[in-house]
């Protein structure tokens, strides 16, 4: 059994007088111990909403999230159930996620599972700050005295305090300079592997995800359209959207070909297309795609896709073959 199990999660945003926007339209994923799962997709695809839904910051319209088999309850006014403390989150902007008026050790100590007195809490907080690469000497400083990368380290130390079994990191390295990004990404990978902690790494930056994730889930307009082990995904894609996403990444290789932009624009999530949500932009769409919505099915042992071209249970069809097949039919 996986550590974190997300089943058929749906999240609607309701505005009075308007149609509800279905930001997440049925998403399932799993994160195992020590496993790093990258959740990627364009802005507006619902990946952050899903992340917030998983930790309980956003109420689910339907579906379930379980950690170690125990259902995670939404964050409310009361103290969280003990079991839910195993799930922690790191946010994109360390400038707004830390309280500017409190010393950093106190903010880290907030999350400690057991708290007896200030002295022991301070010692435990310092231990955590050291675990994320900061020195004990900075414990009494305030957030404004740190750079963006250092602040993100403090936010990570705070997330580690309750000894979580899974951390959800939402664009945790996106706001940082290239070099700092590398430091924080390395830190998260190290912590996940050392502590056997699951990491759900939400990012729009596929290059970083390719580097650190064991498994990738690709989201488009509220749906997970493909999941695969990272190296296999870069080898070949099963869903046309994933392929479009990967081909848009600029490369550092000499004489790299220009990145290719997919056709059209991302549709309004309040009025998603019928059938497969990608079909208006899909180069290999068939008649069926505009009427029937494919669900995410296992194609082989390790890969899943939501595409009518890919039969459940395999064998997987290569996208190049699809293009020629569609050309022949029309």
């Amino acid at each position: 059994m996986s550590l974190l199990e997300v089943r058929d999660v749906i999240v609607d945003y309701k505005t009075p007088g308007r149609r509800p926007v279905r930001a997440v339209a049925g998403a399932s994923l799993e994160v195992g111990p020590g496993e790093i799962v990258g959740l990627v997709g364009e802005s507006g695809c619902g990946k952050s909403t899903l992340g917030r839904g998983i930790v309980g910051l956003q109420k689910l319209t339907s579906g379930s999230v379980t950690l170690n088999g125990v259902a995670v309850s939404p964050v409310g006014r009361r103290a969280r159930p003990k079991a839910d403390r195993g799930l922690q989150m790191v946010f994109q902007d360390p400038y707004s996620s830390l309280n500017p008026r409190r010393r950093v050790w106190r903010q880290v100590a907030d999350g400690l599972a057991e708290r007896t007195n200030d002295a022991s809490a301070r010692a435990a907080a310092i231990e955590l700050l050291e675990a994320v690469g900061l020195s004990a000497a900075i414990a009494d400083r305030y957030p404004h005295e740190f750079s963006g990368g250092q602040r993100q380290r403090i936010a990570i130390a705070r997330a580690l305090a309750p000894q979580p079994s899974v951390i959800v990191a939402d664009e945790a390295v996106s706001a940082l300079d290239a070099s700092t990004q590398a430091q924080i990404a390395n830190l998260l990978v190290g912590l996940a592997k050392e502590r056997g902690m699951g990491l759900l790494f939400i990012s729009h930056d596929l290059s970083v995800v390719r580097h650190i994730a064991d498994k990738v889930a690709v989201m488009y307009l509220g749906r997970i359209v493909e999941t695969a082990p990272t190296d296999e995904l870069w080898e070949s894609r099963l869903h046309p959207y994933t392929d479009a996403l990967v081909r848009a990444i600029p490369s550092l290789e000499p004489d790299a070909s220009a990145p290719v932009a997919p056709e059209g624009e991302v549709p309004d999530p309040a009025a998603p297309p019928t059938g497969c949500r990608f079909h208006p932009r899909c180069p290999v769409a068939m008649d069926r795609c505009s009427t029937e919505d494919p669900s995410l099915v296992m194609i082989d042992d390790s890969r899943a896709a939501a595409c009518w071209h890919q039969p459940a249970g395999g064998p997987a069809v290569r996208l190049e073959l699809l293009a020629t097949r569609v050309a022949e039919q029309s």
Partner: protein
């Protein structure tokens, strides 16, 4: 004569600190020239001078010539005549360059009416053409819509259309794709490439993302601590890198590092104008630094035709007699990691 010639430009701010020191850059018509560097390296300040903008209270030395005329000694009236028509600029965040409470048409036609003296109707028609040029679907109805109606990528394309309104010869693009998704970024890069081919417009493309540079720029200037570290054609700088800073920047990128290995961050903190070390600004973070790097500022030297680097050590270039040069190309490095 080149379209833009920045000649030994230095920019001093109060307190005797240098934002930019002794920077020279040339841009020819139809060329896409990249300026890369971390935040605080001086890349934006340098590019802004081509529009005659200096930071408040700053003084400058050197010349910045657009079409042979020094913009730094122009009167405000002369400057107004080149802004928008000779040189135009697009910024990172399209929401700050578009007025949220005016419709797109009003904002686009303003330039056309002021600079080109077009009438209301003619300006509106030209504005629709501009939106079509940047591939905004249904340009006529887009003109009467407000900025919030558009996605980030469309807003950025509208901001580009606005910059293109008076057919500038040079476009300064400051981190214009940094905040966008890769799919949208690919569309913008394609648009810029098409524009320079079709109109001969030159582009100064500013970003810290070297992978984007690799696919868009013809030539690249790498800045560190307010000075040029390295410059040359895109393949010279990225594939036969000579400056340790450029090398470190490439290695820190997920695209540059070998798969299955940890990313390699640059040690230490970036140099900022109020924290410039003596000698070579990069020396505290440089693995190749020798004693003289801490005292002497290295000068740009031409290492091969068109390829310049400012490094006294030149660790990837100078080899003892008979030594075999290290193959530092991306492909070779990836293979060697796999083997080890």
């Amino acid at each position: 004569m080149s379209l833009l010639e920045v000649d030994n430009l230095s920019i001093l701010i109060r307190g005797g600190r240098n934002l930019v020191e002794d920077v020279s850059i040339t841009v020819n018509a139809g060329e896409i020239v990249g300026i890369a560097g971390e935040s605080g390296s001086g890349k934006t300040v340098t590019a802004m001078t081509s529009l005659g903008f200096l930071p408040a209270g700053a003084t400058s030395a050197g010349e910045v010539r657009v079409n042979g005329v020094d913009v730094l000694s122009m009167t405000p009236k002369q400057l107004q005549s080149i802004r928008g028509t000779e040189v135009a600029m697009v910024f990172q965040d399209p929401m700050t360059s578009l007025h949220p409470m005016l419709n797109i048409g009003t904002q686009l036609t303003e330039h056309l009416r002021v600079h080109k003296g077009l009438g209301r109707k003619a300006a509106w028609a030209r504005a629709a053409e501009l939106l079509e040029l940047v591939r905004i679907p249904d340009p006529e109805s887009a003109l009467s819509a407000f900025p919030h109606r558009f996605s980030g990528g469309m807003r950025q394309r509208i901001a580009i259309a606005m910059a293109l309104a008076c057919d500038p010869k040079l476009l300064i693009a400051d981190e214009i794709t940094t905040a966008l998704d890769v799919t949208v970024q690919a569309g913008i890069l394609d648009l810029l490439d098409r524009l320079r081919r079709e109109t001969g417009m030159a582009v100064v493309f500013i970003t810290h993302d070297l992978a984007v540079m690799n696919v868009i720029a013809d030539r690249l200037y790498v800045m560190y601590g307010g000075r040029l570290a390295e410059s040359g054609s895109i393949s010279q700088v990225l594939n036969s890198t000579r400056h340790p800073y450029t090398r470190a920047l490439i290695d820190a990128l997920p695209e540059g590092a070998a798969l299955g290995k940890a990313l390699v961050p640059i040690p230490g903190e970036p140099s900022t104008p109020d924290r410039r070390p003596a000698g070579c600004a990069f020396n505290p973070r440089c693995t190749f630094a020798v004693e003289s790097c801490r005292t002497d500022v290295p000068q740009l030297r031409e290492l091969e035709e068109g390829h310049f680097a400012a490094c006294a050590v030149d660790p990837f270039g100078s080899l003892p007699e008979g030594a075999v040069p290290l193959d530092l190309s991306l492909a070779a490095r990836k293979d060697s990691h796999v083997a080890s």
